[in-house]
């Protein structure tokens, strides 16, 4: 493997006496499509919170592009190229859909207003929200909110995009739509971490998958080996 884009080494996170992550290590190559699965409460979101900076890891190191980032604030990590969507959508509800995207354009990409608006519209068209561009974001449906989460993350022009259950609640054709977008982003060179419960989607999308259970990695490998793994079947897939 080439020098990893993201290297998580021995990362732990405790909440009081509860260990959410213990000594998790992963390395993700530039341009990789990486899947993260595991039962509810296994630490998936905690792990990406530590990577994106919403939480600070208690132990271990996180390197991005060869640089230690675990001391940086979340906004600095976003500026270095890590963008994420939230599992529970957190839109800027007082703003229009378009304005939601202007925030990362102004604060991360530092674009002129007119250029930013132009490019934001481009993303909205791509993700299928163009006709809602002027709508208040608090009037969107659940599905549209998930798309907005993804669109806002895309607007930050990331090198690493973390998609936290962007497809939950979407219909079959909508899942295909989002998958297509993620594939095309990946083709443009963006590394993608996908957290998803829709197994079909993760397995189709990922080149490599890890399965977390109770804060530990229980299996790592290609989608085929993961599905075949006895421990994964016991902890998550339910054999």
């Amino acid at each position: 493997m080439a020098a990893p884009l993201l290297k998580v080494q021995g990362v732990s996170k405790h909440f009081g006496g509860f260990t959410a992550l213990s000594e998790v290590s992963i390395a993700i190559a530039p341009g990789e499509r990486f899947g993260l699965i595991g039962p509810n409460g296994s630490g998936k979101t905690t792990l990406i919170n530590c990577i994106s900076g919403s939480l600070r890891n208690d132990g271990g190191s996180i390197e991005f592009g060869g640089e230690e980032i675990s001391g940086l604030a979340a906004y600095q990590r976003t500026r270095k190229g890590i963008a994420r969507s939230f599992q529970i959508p957190r839109p800027f509800h007082s703003m229009s859909v378009l304005e939601n995207l202007l925030v990362p354009y102004e604060y991360v990409v530092h674009l002129k207003h007119s250029d930013a608006e132009h490019q934001a519209m481009e993303i909205l068209r791509r993700i299928g929200l163009a006709d809602k561009a002027r709508a208040q974001s608090n009037q969107l449906s659940q599905v549209e909110l998930r798309k907005l989460e993804l669109a806002r993350a895309m607007a930050a022009k990331p090198r690493l995009l973390i998609s936290d259950e962007a497809m939950a609640g979407l219909s079959g054709s909508e899942v295909d739509e989002v998958l297509k977008i993620l594939f095309s982003l990946n083709a443009e060179g963006i590394t993608i971490i996908m957290i998803e419960h829709i197994m079909q989607a993760v397995m189709r999308f990922s080149q490599r998958v890890i399965c977390l259970d109770a804060g530990k990695i229980i299996c790592e490998g290609t989608p085929e080996t993961i599905v075949a793994n006895a421990e994964v079947q016991r902890a998550y897939l339910g054999a």
């Binding site: 604030a73 957190r90 839109p91 509800h93």
Partner: protein
């Protein structure tokens, strides 16, 4: 452009009125209304745009007053210098308070800001140089030409401060800073992950807000020819500065202006015609009515009635 013309027009009208033959009492009352306009506008920069409810307005305001008094007593500094220094001191106070408290969210931040009032009030109460608990009588210097009385001059000065405060708030609102503050209000975590340096922006808002509150407090000792801690640190300032934007509307710079004009004028009228105690009740009742029936304030009401125009 349209805004600058409007602001200039307001100043010209204020000046012409101040040198005209209008009854002296008008300036006495209008000064207070304008002072609340500055306070409400300043409060709204942090409380309205960023959603951090600051109950410590009285502290920033009074520290501005006390800074002015110290400079006046010590150096005989002119009013302009007093105001500038008050803005700096209260701005620094805002920065310091922000550093200590802005990591707290929601109700915890609000509680912490109340504490600032009591801390500052206790300090001033025990400082003999500024009169301690009994207060300090001040002798007004000569009024500057072309104003016929000190109150008239102070009225114009406060009108100038109001225009400055509103201009600053408007700039913050329409610039990239305003979008960042709104993002913070909507979801701090998402803002941070969209590249918004939330702590820096909140500190900026708290500092600017504090500085404007301090500037508003600086002319107060000269207005009363007196300073004393209990009334300077009165919670009424905190409550009014919060109620006015809430009633006018917090999302736009016009909101606090409307709120201050409306509530401030009603208070002045009620004070004269009924009693000075009732005017506090007026704030309370209006605040409850607006929170229940028009949570987005007067501006929100207009938006609802005439959706096209906005």
């Amino acid at each position: 452009m349209k805004y600058s013309l409007g602001a200039a027009a307001v100043l010209v009208i204020a000046f012409v009125t101040a040198v005209s033959g209008v009854n002296e009492y008008f300036f006495y009352a209008a000064f207070v209304v304008l002072q609340f306009m500055v306070l409400a506008t300043a409060w709204n920069i942090l409380g309205g745009y960023a959603g951090y409810v600051n109950f410590g307005t009285a502290a920033f305001f009074a520290i501005g007053s006390y800074t002015a008094v110290v400079l006046f007593k010590w150096l005989g500094a002119p009013l302009a210098v007093q105001i500038a220094a008050a803005a700096v001191v209260s701005g620094l106070l805002g920065f310091g308070v922000g550093l200590l408290t802005l990591r707290l969210r929601g109700i915890f931040f609000a509680i912490a800001t109340v504490a600032i009032i009591f801390i500052m009030e206790t300090m001033m109460m025990n400082w003999r140089y500024v009169g301690g608990a009994t207060g300090l009588q001040l002798l007004r210097p000569d009024v500057l030409q072309p104003f016929a009385s000190y109150t008239r001059m102070l009225f114009f000065v406060m009108a100038l401060l109001a225009v400055i405060a509103v201009s600053v708030a408007r700039y913050v609102q329409v610039s990239w800073i305003g979008r960042g503050l709104r993002a913070i209000r909507d979801s701090e975590e998402a803002a941070e992950c969209s590249g918004v340096p939330t702590l820096k922006l909140k500190l900026f808002a708290c500092t600017v807000s504090g500085a404007l509150m301090g500037a508003a407090g600086a002319p107060m000792p000269m207005y009363l020819s007196f300073i004393e801690p209990a009334s300077s640190f009165s919670l009424n300032y905190s409550v009014s500065a919060l109620a006015m934007p809430m009633i006018g509307g917090t999302v736009h710079w016009l909101g606090p202006v409307i709120g201050a004009l409306l509530l401030g004028s009603i208070q002045q009228i009620v004070t004269v015609t009924i009693s000075s105690e009732i005017n506090v009740l007026v704030i309370g009742v209006l605040l409850v009515l607006f929170v229940v029936f028009a949570p987005d304030g007067v501006l929100g009401l207009f938006k609802k009635l005439w959706p096209r125009r906005s």
